[in-house]
Symmetry: C2
Subunit: 340 residues, 2 copies
DNA sequence: AGAATTTATGAAAACGTTTGCAATACTATT
DNA sequence: AATAGTATTGCAAACGTTTTCATAAATTCT
C-alpha cells in the first residue's frame, strides 16, 4: 500500500489526487468546518493514499507559529536537568509543540550561540535555565521579540517570566537544618559558581545563615567539586582528613552529597553519628541510598511541568501575561543528619 | 545600539539598508566568494545594525536541508539515555545541526506519533533508540525517504544503519561472569520486555547462557521491576526473602542492580560474601557506590558520539553508505560479585 | 418563481528565501 | 582601440503553504 510517490508529495499532489484545489486541501487541515464533509473525506483518503505529511516550515512562512520551543540547558546529562527536560518536554508536547534542545556546558558564550541557532529555526519561544545570562543573549532576545522564560530559578525582580525555586532559600534551609541539630563546625562542598547562579545563591545564602548564628566558615572548611560523585568523594576525603574535622558537611547538591557520603564511609566514619551530611535537590535515587540522604527538596518535575504549561499558554495567548512562579521547597529529613 | 526594527527584519530589509539587491545578500551568506569584498562588508554591517537572523525555514523551502535532526527516545529522564542524548547532541551540533528531541515513554504508538511530528518539521534525519519499532513507523520512514538510524542496539541484520552494542552479548557476558565464579542458583530481575528489545535480548541471552551450563531458571527466581531503584529494591527483597535464596542476582541494568544492592543490605546480607550482584550498563555512579558495582560496560557516550558523527556525514553525503557499528562491551569487575 | 442569503470552492497573491539567467562593469589580450 | 573574457550584480521564478477575495451552487424566504 501507500505507493511511494516520486518524492515530493505536497499539498497540490493531494489536491490533484482528490480533484480539488490546493486551497481546499489547506482548509481541510486548518478550518475543517469550512469544507463539506464529502470533500473532506475525499481529501482525507488522498492524504492517506499518498502518505502526505504537512510541511510546517512552509506554514510558518505565513506568520503561523513554527510549533517549536527551544530549551537551552547547561547539560542534559545530569539527573536534575534530565528530570526538568522530561517534564517540560511532556508539557509542551501536550500543547502541540516540539522541543528543540541545546546544551552549552556552563559556558555563557556558547549559550548565546545556541539561542541564536534556535532563533534561526524560528522557535516560538526560548526557555533558559537560570537567570544569569550574557548581555548579548538578553539583547538578542529583546531584539527578536521572541518570547523567553527562565526555568529553575525564581526571583521577584526577574526580567523574564520564570518558574523555579528560590535557591537562596534552599541554601538557608540546608544551613538552618544543620544549625538546629547543634552543628557549629560545618564544611561546605560546592561547585564552581561562575556562570552558575543556582550554586552561587545557595552558597552565599548558606554562608550568610551561618554568619547570622555567629559562625564564620574558614577557608579550610570550604572545598570545590564539580557535579560528580567521584570528584566530590575526593573533595570530602580531603575535608575529612585534616587534624580536626567538621561535624557536618553541607553540599551544593545531592550528587555532591552522595560523593561526600561515600567519602565518609571510606574514612570509616559512621553517618550520621560521627558526621552529618546534607544535600540540596532531592534527586531521584537520593531516597534510596543507605542511609537515605537528608536534603532540601526542589520539585524538578513540578517546575518542568509548570514551566511548560505556562510558557505554551503565554506563547499562544493573545494578551500574554507576565508570570513568576516560586515553587515550594521542603526539607526532607532522612538518615544522613543527626544531632551532634 | 541595534535599533529595534519594526519586527520583520528580513533579507530585503538588509538589502535595502545596504543598497543592494536581496540576491546579493543571500549570496553573501551562501556563496561569499561570488560577492566582492566591498559589498560583503556593506552587507555585514547592515546585518549587524538591523540584527538580522537568518530564517532557516525559508531556506528549507529551496530544497536546502533544515539543519535539524530528530531523536526519539523512550525517556530522557534515565541516566543512560541522558548520556547518549548529550553525546549525540554535541556531535551533531559540531556538524551544524540542531536537535529535535521527543520521548514516548516506551509506547511504540506514541513513538510513531513523535516520528511523524518530527517529519512535519522536516528534520533531515530521525534517530531512534533500539531496533524494535511499529510497522507504521517503518512504513512512514520508508515512504518519506527520511534518513533514519537506530542507536543503542547493534544487529547484523538490521534494516536501519545502527550504532550500538549487542545486548545479547551483554546478557551472555553477565551470566558467564557469574557462572565462572561458581554460581548455580541465580536470580533474575528484569523490566517488562514488551516494546523494549534491549531488555529482552539481555534476558533471553542470559537465560540461554545459563541453560547451556545446564541451569534452568525456575519461575520463583525471576522478578520483574521497572527501571527504578526503589521498585527494584522491593523486587530484590521478595526474591531474597524466600526459604532458600539464590547466591547471585543478575539484573537487567545498573539501576536495578543498585536497587538490589540496597535490598540486600537491608536484609543484612553481606555483598559479595553472601550474595553476588551483577548489573549491566555501567552507569555514571555505578563505580562510586559502596561496594562498587560489578557490571558489563556499555559505552553510552561513545555510542552517542559515534552515532552523531556517522549520521551527520551519512545525511550530508552525496552517496550515503550504510553503516553498522558494534561497540565493544567490557566486563567491569568491582566489588559486588565474588566466588561462591 | 425570483431575490436574498448562505455554503462550498477556486484563483491568485503573499510569505522569505535561493538560484538560473541576463545584464553590466571591469580586465586582459591582441 | 576593439574584442573576448571574467567578475559582480540584479531580475524574476520557484519553493509549499495560507488566506483574501471572488464566484458558483445550494438553500431559504417572500
Amino acid at each position: 500500500m501507500a505507493p511511494k510517490q516520486k518524492g515530493n508529495v505536497d499539498i497540490v499532489a493531494v489536491a490533484k489526487a482528490a480533484k480539488v484545489s490546493p486551497s481546499t486541501v489547506s482548509r481541510t487541515f486548518n478550518h475543517p468546518d469550512l469544507v463539506s464533509p464529502a470533500t473532506r473525506k475525499k481529501i482525507t483518503r488522498a492524504v492517506q493514499k499518498l502518505g502526505y505529511v504537512r510541511n510546517r516550515a512552509a506554514q510558518m512562512m505565513h506568520g503561523k507559529r513554527s510549533g517549536t520551543i527551544g530549551l537551552v540547558v547547561p547539560t542534559i546529562n545530569h539527573a536534575i536537568f534530565a528530570e526538568v527536560i522530561q517534564a517540560f518536554s511532556d508539557a509542551i508536547d501536550q500543547a502541540g509543540f516540539t522541543l528543540l534542545l541545546a546544551s552549552h556546558g556552563y559556558d555563557l558564550d556558547r549559550e548565546y550561540a545556541m539561542v541564536r541557532k534556535l532563533m534561526e529555526h524560528r522557535v516560538d519561544g526560548v526557555a533558559l535555565i537560570g537567570l544569569e545570562h550574557s548581555d548579548a543573549t538578553a539583547r538578542l532576545i529583546a531584539q527578536q521579540e521572541t518570547p523567553a522564560m527562565a526555568i529553575w530559578n525564581y526571583a521577584e525582580d526577574s526580567e523574564l517570566p520564570c518558574v523555579g525555586a528560590d535557591n537562596r532559600q534552599a541554601g538557608r534551609m540546608a544551613a538552618e537544618h544543620l544549625l538546629q541539630l547543634g552543628h557549629r563546625d560545618i564544611g561546605l562542598i560546592f561547585p564552581d559558581t561562575r556562570g552558575n547562579d543556582r550554586a552561587r545563591h545557595r552558597l552565599t545564602a548558606a554562608v550568610k545563615a551561618l554568619e547570622t548564628h555567629g559562625i564564620s566558615v574558614p577557608e579550610n572548611r570550604m572545598s570545590e567539586a564539580p557535579y560528580s560523585v567521584s570528584q566530590a568523594k575526593q573533595a570530602a576525603l580531603e575535608l575529612l582528613s585534616g587534624p580536626s574535622r567538621p561535624t557536618a558537611l553541607l553540599c551544593g547538591n545531592d550528587v555532591i552529597a552522595q560523593g561526600a557520603l561515600y567519602g565518609a564511609q571510606k574514612c570509616g566514619l559512621r553517618v550520621p553519628d560521627e558526621l552529618s551530611i546534607m544535600g540540596i535537590g532531592d534527586f531521584k535515587g537520593s531516597a534510596d541510598i543507605e542511609p537515605g540522604l537528608t536534603t532540601v527538596r526542589i520539585p524538578a518535575e513540578t517546575i518542568g511541568t509548570l514551566a511548560g504549561e505556562r510558557f505554551t499558554s503565554y506563547i499562544t495567548s493573545e494578551a500574554p501575561e507576565m508570570f513568576k512562579l516560586c515553587c515550594e521547597l521542603e526539607p526532607i529529613l532522612r538518615g544522613t543528619t543527626g544531632r551532634i
